[in-house]
């Protein structure tokens, strides 16, 4: 929609408003004044294929694919940039699919002499993994001035002077644009650029450990950059173009126009998940050249504000801390909406758009909404299509609110708000410190057995179903093991779905928590009959570290934990501290039991099971590992070493099953729960499947502007009658004042003086 159209409509609205106001003044009826008045968007925009969503607090900090690593940046970065891989939109467990890649590349393994190894070669024999990734031909970059060429075929904006940029503040200030085809070289350029010292590159240190030659390359690039900047002040922002095309390294190469080769040290099957992140999004050299010209950085004309990509959308407006607009990339090739999903997707309508070309929505407008009250009000009025496009916490809180208030439940139902839920790769658990003499491993086999029984007894006593019902308002499922249901390795009929140590099967086959009597029996076998040490007679006191200071808000929760342990006669000493102190204690291993959670980096079982892998012990690695309980089990560690090299398949499943059985028996965690997350959309948004892993989801969403317009009219009919009422009250106040005024004006001076005389 053009600006002139909007202004014209606004003027009409203003005229309508004036006529309405005049009608009131004349005391006429209120008919004809039902037009929507509280629309915060340009009038008429609700009828267009434009999605409106808020963003909270501030604009995204980094849109440069090398730097971007934060959730609030993903609605922009993942719609604009296209990494090699992405996730299938509907399938669960998550399945990687090619995004610009033709398919998921099958890795080739080489031994230390560079000779090929079979696919099933043991991981420790693999010296190098080679990924040859085919890129779809014909993919074009979104229109951008960096590609624009003049009549002679030279780049129109590659030789600008500072004065040429003086009046340019946004990318749309450049009149000419151009495009070109995406090639493997753009990915090579992006991978080389991970080593840049000029902008933040959070993945560099990890990737340098894996990609062949990247670490040394990084050192070379730092030296090169220093040389380029030697005559410049450190604060200078106009830096000479650091052209990564001139500096190569063997870990990333373009074999031909459409084939990219990446070489990875050893065997690292999880590397494929990195290729679905924007760290591996293509960067055209033209963009870097364009943005490195004098005066650009001062005007915020950088890749950090104005990304260039091949994705379904392009960023056309960036007003910091106010508004960002994504518009359909006219050069986007179009991708088909998936025709397969997980069971139940068809019934939920997620397959209705099978085969249609995405993206569906033409434009996405992100407006800042700093305060919660206006955000919620605008969503309920229909002016935001979703209250949070990139997060699932808002939908969950709406479900909780529905449970708390009948009125809210009625309102949300009447408005047809969709709150689809999911269990994401996220858990909360209570961990038992393996280094602790009472709840840990135990020094002797007998002690180890007693400690295990104690942990098992405590695990039974902790009624997580009750916890979910009270503190999560039913929004979660009790965990049977360390793996959440959305990951490969979790089977409904496998050990991940049933923990025989804590549960038995009920008559309907569903898990039923073992009884407190069983927990007491185990406690007695552990040497603590009725919660007292059989040898000393002293009560068993367990220290529980909690990750925030005690507040009235968490008092009930902490008391709940105490009561759970008291059910079997164990006393709980709660040590609630602030989060920094808590982390410090965990790093040193100076805790006994503690409550903590984990949100997966990528959807692989390895990303949860590595928290129980011995060499990752937090206390034994000086805080560098993620094994917070410091759990050590040689069999588990051996299986983990095998499992981490395997691709998803029956063999990996078998190992995962066994590993889960081991940790269930050892009860090193009381497995806690997997919280439910929910998206929130209005009824006119289709295909909104909740996810925290898939970030390019906006292209899959479909909007029905007609339905939205009707509902906005229906929900936002202005109520005018209080206005004349307020006016009447004012008049009622003014009339006596007017009479009093007249009286005072006519009264004699003597009377006025009499008033003055009685003045205070």
């Amino acid at each position: 929609m053009n600006t002139a159209g909007i202004t014209g409509k606004s003027l009409r609205a203003a005229l309508a408003a004036t006529s309405c106001a005049l009608a009131f003044a004349a005391g006429s009826t209120l008919t004809g004044c039902s037009e929507v008045w509280n629309n915060p968007h340009p009038l008429g925009s609700e009828k267009t294929n434009t999605m409106f969503v808020p963003f909270r607090e501030r604009s995204p900090k980094y849109l440069d694919p090398v730097s971007s690593y934060s959730n609030d940046e993903t609605p922009y970065t993942y719609q604009v940039y296209e990494p090699l891989y992405g996730y299938h939109y509907l399938k669960r467990p998550y399945e990687l699919v090619g995004r610009t890649a033709v398919e998921i590349a099958r890795p080739r393994y080489l031994d230390k002499d560079g000779k090929p190894l079979p696919d099933d070669a043991p991981g420790d024999q693999v010296a190098e993994t080679v990924f040859d990734i085919r890129i779809k031909p014909g993919i074009k970059f979104a229109p951008h001035p960096a590609f624009a060429k003049d009549a002679n075929g030279s780049y129109a904006y590659h030789a600008m002077k500072k004065a040429d940029v003086a009046d340019k503040h946004k990318i749309t200030d450049f009149t000419q644009t151009g495009t070109r085809e995406l090639t493997a070289d753009d990915y090579v350029y992006a991978i080389r650029r991970l080593a840049t010292p000029r902008v933040k590159s959070p993945s560099f240190s990890t990737m340098a450990d894996y990609i062949v030659g990247l670490k040394e390359y990084g050192e070379r690039i730092v030296a090169t950059d220093k040389e380029l900047r030697k005559d410049l002040a450190p604060t200078d922002r106009d830096l000479p173009f650091l052209d990564f095309r001139e500096y190569s390294f063997p870990g990333a190469e373009a074999l031909d126009k459409h084939t990219l080769r990446i070489r990875v040290k050893g065997k690292y099957p999880q590397f494929k998940y990195w290729l679905a992140m924007t760290f591996f999004a293509p960067v055209p050299w033209e963009a870097e050249k364009f943005y490195s010209q004098p005066g650009m950085a001062e005007k915020n004309l950088t890749l950090n504000y104005w990304p260039v990509g091949t994705g379904p959308y392009m960023l056309t407006e960036y007003i910091e801390n106010r508004r960002h607009v994504l518009e359909r990339n006219p050069n986007f090739r179009g991708e088909p909406y998936p025709c397969e999903g997980e069971p139940g997707d068809r019934e939920k309508g997620y397959l209705a758009d099978c085969g249609k070309t995405i993206p569906f929505v033409d434009k996405v407008v992100f407006d800042i909404e700093k305060e919660g009250v206006p955000l919620q009000a605008k969503f309920l009025q229909g002016y935001y299509d979703s209250p949070a496009i990139e997060r699932l916490d808002y939908g969950t809180s709406m479900i909780v609110a529905m449970g708390d208030s009948k009125e809210k439940e009625k309102e949300y139902r009447e408005k047809g708000i969709k709150l689809p839920t999911t269990i994401e790769a996220n858990n909360w658990y209570i961990g038992f410190n393996w280094l602790d003499p009472v709840v840990g491993k135990g020094d002797t086999p007998e002690q180890a057995e007693r400690n295990r029984k104690l942990r098992q007894a405590l695990s039974i006593a902790l009624d997580w179903e009750e916890h979910i019902a009270i503190f999560e308002r039913g929004q979660g499922v009790a965990a049977q093991g360390p793996l959440p249901p959305s990951l490969f390795g979790y089977r409904d009929d496998g050990p991940a779905a049933f923990n025989p140590v804590v549960y038995t099967r009920g008559p309907d086959g569903k898990p039923v928590r073992r009884t407190i009597d069983e927990a007491k029996r185990l406690l007695a076998e552990a040497g603590y009959p009725d919660g007292r040490d059989a040898r000393s007679g002293k009560p068993l006191v367990v220290n529980f570290d909690y990750q925030s200071s005690p507040t009235p808000g968490n008092k009930a929760l902490l008391e709940w934990y105490t009561k759970q342990f008291a059910k079997i006669g164990v006393q709980l000493e709660v040590r609630a501290t602030d989060y920094n102190r808590f982390q410090d204690k965990i790093s040193k291993g100076s805790v006994q039991i503690f409550f903590w959670g984990w949100l997966a980096d990528y959807p692989d079982a390895e990303n949860f099971l590595f928290m129980l892998y011995g060499p990752n012990s937090k206390a034994l690695t000086g805080g560098n590992g993620e094994n917070n309980t410091n759990y050590q089990n040689p069999e588990f560690d051996e299986l983990f070493k095998q499992m981490k090299f395997l691709d998803d398949g029956p063999e990996k499943q078998k190992l995962i099953d066994r590993m889960i059985e081991i940790v269930q028996k050892d009860a090193v965690w009381s497995f806690g729960y997997f919280p439910t997350s929910a998206a929130a959309y209005h009824q006119w948004i289709a295909n909104g499947k909740p996810t925290q892993i898939i970030r390019n989801h906006i292209g899959y969403l479909r909007l029905d502007p007609g339905l939205r317009t009707r509902k906005l009219d229906e929900w936002n009919k202005p109520i005018w009658w209080p206005i004349p009422l307020i006016a009447a009250v004012l008049v009622a106040g003014i009339v006596p004042a007017w009479f009093a005024w007249r009286r005072r004006e006519r009264e004699t001076a003597g009377r006025t003086l009499a008033h003055e005389g009685s003045a205070p």
Partner: protein
């Protein structure tokens, strides 16, 4: 008078240096450049190298006030304080710590701030004067009593409450105006109507009582008696004689803040999503962006000094007996 103004401007520069020094000291007492770097880089995996690099690129690696290692005057000039202050006095605000052009942002944001502040101010002053004069006019009557009670009532409620109630009642219940947002052009009235009304109502009570006291002080004076004895109507006495004589304290409280209107209203802009300078300042404080904070404090101080000079000049206009020398 010219001499006086020049002298005041001279004092103003000294005050600005003092304010700048004070802001600088306060900011760096609670924040170290390392904290700022960490906050600005953000996210996971912030290495010490990255922090050092961030500081070097923005000149925060120098000492704050005194560079013992530098030769000669460099000890004083090769510091963060000197670098940042000199620039300000040349009205070159430079780039924010996140890299954006502060001058450009200020120019872009002054419009929405003024669009909100000017109507709130003018209509507010008008409403306050009328309300307080009416209370004086109807002194010792039940109208004054209820007017007084209303003023105390309005004064007792926090501005935040007005905002929340205004949004709830006019936007959510009656659906007459957008709950928040901003747009230029003709739509501006729809977005600003509610914040302007709330701006007026929230200050009406307190200021009306203050003005009322001013007017009451005047009304007992001889010249009022003389005016009445001449047979002038009470309206003329109040609006022509009393108002003009009570103007001095009113000018003090209004003209001085006039230039500050350009700085926007912090809370109002934040709640109504108005992209003005008030919300710009709040965002900068939240993001620990010292470059913006010091620029905004500097602009604020300069405008306040300008306001005080204007107040002095306005005295001479309002009261011919006053001479600036």
């Amino acid at each position: 008078m010219i001499n006086y103004i020049v002298r005041r401007i001279g004092y103003g520069v000294l005050i600005l240096i003092g304010v700048n020094l004070f802001t600088f000291a306060l900011f760096f007492t609670v924040n170290t450049p390392d904290d700022m770097a960490r906050m600005n880089i953000g996210g996971k995996r912030v290495s010490q190298d990255a922090i050092e690099k961030w500081k070097v690129e923005r000149g925060y690696n120098k000492p704050l006030f005194w560079n013992a290692e530098a030769p000669g005057t460099g000890r004083l000039t090769n510091t963060i304080f000197f670098d940042r202050s000199v620039q300000l006095f040349a009205l070159d605000f430079g780039a924010s710590d996140s890299g954006r052009d502060i001058g450009y942002e200020i120019r872009k944001r002054v419009g929405p701030s003024v669009a909100l502040a000017i109507p709130s101010f003018i209509l507010g002053v008008f409403a306050v004067i009328v309300f307080s004069l009416l209370m004086v006019f109807f002194r010792n009557t039940y109208l004054e009593f209820w007017g007084f009670a209303l003023a105390v009532f309005l004064m007792s409620i926090s501005a935040l409450f007005y905002i929340l109630m205004g949004q709830f009642f006019f936007s959510k219940v009656l659906k007459l105006v957008p709950i928040s947002g901003y747009s230029g052009g003709s739509d501006i009235f729809v977005f600003l109507a509610l914040p302007v009304i709330i701006g007026i109502v929230s200050r009406l009570g307190g200021e009306a009582l203050f003005y009322r006291t001013m007017f009451l002080e005047e009304i007992g004076k001889d010249y009022v008696r003389t005016a009445r004895s001449k047979g002038l109507s009470e309206t003329v006495v109040l609006f022509r004689h009393v108002l003009r004589n009570a103007l001095l304290p009113i000018l003090t409280s209004t003209v001085a803040v006039l230039p500050l209107l350009f700085l926007g209203a912090l809370i109002m802009e934040s709640f109504f999503g108005i992209p003005g300078l008030g919300s710009y300042t709040i965002d900068a404080i939240n993001a620990q962006d010292f470059a913006i904070v010091r620029s905004m404090v500097f602009v604020g101080s300069a405008l306040y000094i300008l306001g005080l000079i204007l107040t002095d000049i306005s005295y001479t206009v309002a009261d011919p007996r006053i001479r600036l020398s």
